[in-house]
Amino acid sequence: MDILIPVLILGGLGFLFGVGLAIASRRLAVKTDPRLEKIHGLLPGSNCGACGGAGCFGFADKLLKGEASVSACRVSEERVKEEIARILGKKLEKDTKLSAILHCGGGKKVKDRFLYDGIEDCISANLALAGEKECVFGCLGYGSCAAICPFGAIHMTGEGLPAVDKARCKACNKCVQACPKKLFSLIPWASNVYIACSSHDTGKDTIKACPVGCIACRKCEQVCPVSAIQIIDNLAVIDYNKCTSCGECVKVCPMKTIRIQA
């Protein structure tokens, strides 16, 4: 008989709470659009923020409200985007696929101006007299880009330069924003030719600091059959709307500044 009271009381409590919670979950249920869960499940879930939403969930929310377009997601594959567009009942607008590229070829080839002994991070190093490298435009080599890349697409090579793994790069723009020297840019995935320099110094000064910098000799400008290259402020710049990746400029560049992506 002694066991009866505890069983009743504890069982009663449990039953009461169970029923209470069941009722509460009915009463307090929040209506969510079932599409929200579906879309969120399809999105990559890396929360990179390249779309401008607060993570993938925020983006899914924006998509449902019609405040964003599916193509804003840089990470998802085309067929996933089509699937999401189908759920939303919209058509997918095609977008050029991009990938990040580093506009610097210096790395360890550039000498140091002084001994930097601070925090091993590009942003910190840049605060000390724009870094220790002889070329103030060039890569500092502490790998802030590699650290911030949410897809592990950037790794540091032995030459003290980051290398972008094109297959993994989702063009999320994080490295472009993180680099204190603004050395990254997003170029069309299909293009291979790029300028491995960002120095706006005159040719004379550039050649002193770096063996592979652009010296603004204008050979590429002249040889380009579609006039896609222009020297702007002592630096060759490729207009990717015109560039056909023919590789003529790569052949004539005396400093090997213009390269073909590996």
């Binding site: 009271i5 505890p6 009381i9 504890l10 409590l13 449990g14 709470f17 209470g20 919670l21 509460a24 979950s25 307090l28 249920a29 929040v30 925090i119 091993e120």
Partner: protein
């Protein structure tokens, strides 16, 4: 009811017997969520709220159900039952009433359901303020106040820890010690420091 006793409860549960650094309760959330100050404070606020409310509820359960029927040996399971139900309910209610608040600390509530600090305070209250199976005078107020103060102690420890860990982000730390190993070392040193309060006498 003795007003001076409230001060004793405050000092002892915030400093001398700090729930994390002296009683070693609620350590998992202490280590896991103390990386940045903002989430740490959100978690602390949620803990303060839940501990205070659960002190109130468990006092009634203990006083009105367990003590009269002589079932005090069932307090652990019944307290857990009550706390888990309460936290689930609060989570639902917040989600319905204020989505902004839910986004701020809703995600921490399920963590608190199984937080030993909450149960610890409930058990402690029933130990301290019930003498020989009878509620001592003013025990309800003492219990609630102790719940609040333990929550404050938790917030204090979280604030200290997250402040230290935020600064550590910018330091050169041996790779093997990064994150958790170093947090354990810091926590133990902080705990040693808090043991210094043990000599306090009133």
């Amino acid at each position: 009811m003795n007003l001076g006793y409230f001060l004793t409860i405050f000092i002892s549960s915030v400093f001398i017997y700090n729930v994390i650094l002296s009683r070693f309760l609620g350590l998992c959330s202490f280590v896991a969520i103390s990386k940045e100050t903002r989430p740490a404070m959100a978690m602390s606020l949620a803990v303060i709220f839940v501990i205070t409310m659960s002190s109130i509820i468990t006092w009634f359960i203990y006083r009105l159900l367990l003590v009269p029927f002589g079932l005090t040996y069932l307090r652990t399971i019944s307290f857990i039952l009550v706390i888990a139900t309460f936290v689930q309910f609060v989570e639902m209610a917040i989600r319905k009433i204020s989505p902004a608040l839910y986004r701020f600390f809703g995600i921490y509530l399920p963590l608190i359901t199984v937080n030993c600090a909450v149960l610890g305070v409930a058990v402690l209250n029933s130990d301290m303020f019930f003498v020989n199976g009878k509620a001592s005078p003013g025990s309800f107020y003492y219990s609630v106040f102790q719940g609040l103060c333990v929550g404050l102690g938790y917030a204090l420890a979280m604030l200290l820890m997250s402040g230290i860990r935020e600064r550590l982000e910018f330091c050169n730390i041996p790779k093997a010690l990064k994150d958790f190993p170093l947090s354990f070392i810091i926590a133990s040193v902080m705990s040693l420091a808090f043991m210094g309060f043990n000599g306090f006498k009133f």
